[in-house]
Symmetry: C2
Subunit: 365 residues, 2 copies
């Protein structure tokens, strides 16, 4: 049996308010605990999006009564909420500011870089700023971190050109950190047919699954990756298989077994990088996110893993409401047996033992 600290997932979509048929604060935080994640940061592109005091309250009210693990809620950067300096302590109540700059639709997408500049100037320097920014947009965001001399965290990098540019920027002393999702470490675009099973929507995720060369570059630069994050983005199978399938994969319940299996198996067959270690998992899923996002320690909190359990991943054994996984049938090694959260047994042998409302807002006073 291995004992790990409770994992932190800085990138989770819980779909509440607005789309609770996909997931809500209850089912999503249950899925988190089942996966060994004891703290998560919830994204703001809900319906309505979370971008001011009123909408933040909407999300936090749902969370207060329903969350089973600890959490904080992001605010979204929009065209009309750049005046953070006039918002009293609103920024301090959020996980951070999320900027949607690519591949996103709806009110939170910012196309005009002059708005990015405004958010960079006005969002408090000591609070987290996270960007969904791919390729050249990512480079543009890192430039703003350099110009305004403040930290920025790049969500879900997936490309060779991204990891190599972040590496160079870090070497130059620019305050950039980044996260990588399991789908971009363990899948390439060549896996889309197997995931799709004839339903192309199942293979849709943003950032898209990349090339083998991109995946190799991530494994070849493990030390540049600050965090693992799931970008848990649940949609129902009916939606994924329907017209206009929404992009996104669930991920909370597959993150840890995939990482543990990689520790056991060594790097992917085609990748040249060094072997993933247990220390990597702790660093990139606990220590680094705690530091980057200024998150509190969780006392008496840990995850017990049976490292010798060999089994297959199956969506019908998962807590997420979405009912599917792109890793269906994958053979993995290492199963969560028990999760302790602040002195209580939160999970034991697949059963969630803490009630909705047990989770705490880590940005609450």
């Amino acid at each position: 049996m291995i004992k790990l600290p409770g994992l932190i997932d800085p990138h989770v979509h819980l779909r509440e308010p607005g789309q609770t048929h996909k997931e809500d604060w209850d089912s999503g935080t249950a899925a988190a605990l089942a996966g060994g994640v004891t703290m998560l940061l919830a994204m703001p592109n809900t319906k309505p999006p979370i971008f001011d005091a009123g909408t933040l309250d909407l999300a936090l009210t749902a969370a207060r009564s329903k969350a089973r693990c600890d959490y904080a809620q992001y605010l979204g950067a929009g065209p009309d909420n750049t005046e953070w300096g006039n918002q009293a302590d609103l920024p301090q109540k959020a996980a951070g500011l999320k900027m949607y700059l690519d591949s996103t639709f709806g009110q939170l997408r910012l196309d005009d870089m002059t708005l990015w500049q405004q958010h960079f100037m006005q969002w408090p320097k000591e609070l987290p700023l996270v960007a969904h920014s791919e390729s050249r947009s990512m480079a543009a965001v890192i430039l703003m971190a350099a110009i305004y001399d403040r930290p920025v965290h790049i969500a879900h990098i997936s490309l060779k050109e991204e990891i190599l540019l972040i590496k160079a920027a870090k070497e130059r002393g620019i305050k950039v950190t980044c996260e990588v999702c399991p789908q971009h470490l363990f899948l390439t675009r060549d896996d889309i047919p197997a995931i799709s099973q004839g339903h192309p929507g199942r293979g849709e995720v943003r950032p898209r699954l990349a090339t083998r060369e991109d995946v190799e570059a991530l494994w070849g630069n493990l030390d540049v990756i600050d965090c693992f994050a799931t970008d848990h983005a649940p949609h129902t199978l009916a939606e994924k298989d329907g017209e206009n399938p929404p992009p996104g994969f669930p991920g909370l319940e597959t993150l840890l077994p995939l990482l543990l299996t990689a520790v056991e198996d060594g790097p992917l067959a085609f990748a040249q990088g060094r072997r993933l270690t247990m220390d990597d998992i702790i660093q990139k899923s606990v220590t680094n996110p705690r530091r980057i996002f200024s998150l509190p320690e969780q006392p008496e909190t840990w995850v017990e893993v049976d490292e010798n359990a060999n089994y297959e991943l199956h969506a019908d054994e998962m807590k997420s409401r979405c009912g599917w996984t792109p890793f269906e049938g994958w053979k993995v090694r290492g199963r969560v047996r028990r999760v302790m959260l602040r002195g209580k047994i939160a999970v034991e042998d697949g059963k969630i033992l803490v009630q909705p409302g047990y989770g705490q807002n880590v940005r609450g006073k």
Copy 2:
């Protein structure tokens, strides 16, 4: 009569080798002199493109026998010529390195930022590096200038978000300079119908004509603009009016009258910026390009302008082979009467008096 130094245009397409029906080193340099431009830097996206010793020799051989004004020829950054360190003194023989990162087709377009990094690392730091990079790509290029601590010059900026980001980068000490073309100072997308005259291809130019707000931002930040450049991009009217019209405007013979008229008239009616001055013209068309591109002074070289001449711009009075201008019929004030180039009368009352081959390669030893 006003006496100006000979202008330098750092961004000119002469179409030779390969497309001399549009322009060549003779007609293009005649157009330059007629416009008061005594030195120009020629772009490398010819047919074939100029990207190595052999192709540079091709362009310079044509230039040597045909150019009437002074010049240098750019090399283009491609996917296979990043190893500048192994190229002996080839980089020193060129005007600089031109990177095509947007809105360009053919062999010189670089989509992969890892290739940009290679060029940034390998092109000698003391030699000019120019990027066609719009919007977020521009920001990405400026990031590379910051990371590799070397100067970069941004070609033809046209957007508010571009000039504001360059302003912020300069304030932070990043080594970025930029140029603006007359079409982006004097035209907006609202002018496209008048330019097109029913032929939509005539309004096509890259970067595209922008919004009034963008043009206002350029006039409102004149001090951020380092250079004026024409991006003289001649195509015949038959091509512009045909299928798949190539983007591009000629500009060598309209630059100076447009600028002189703006000095006289003050800022555009809708722009809030300060008035353009003669000092601006000298700074942005002579002093700054000379410094940025390390160009030699031209002794006994000047342009005499009749500042009281009021007239209309007409393509049929121009030297460019392309036979049209987007400024057809514009009423301007200020006409080039005489150009002296290295002690010889090069232009007098519309007649070109220096022969092909009089022009010198300013990077020649």
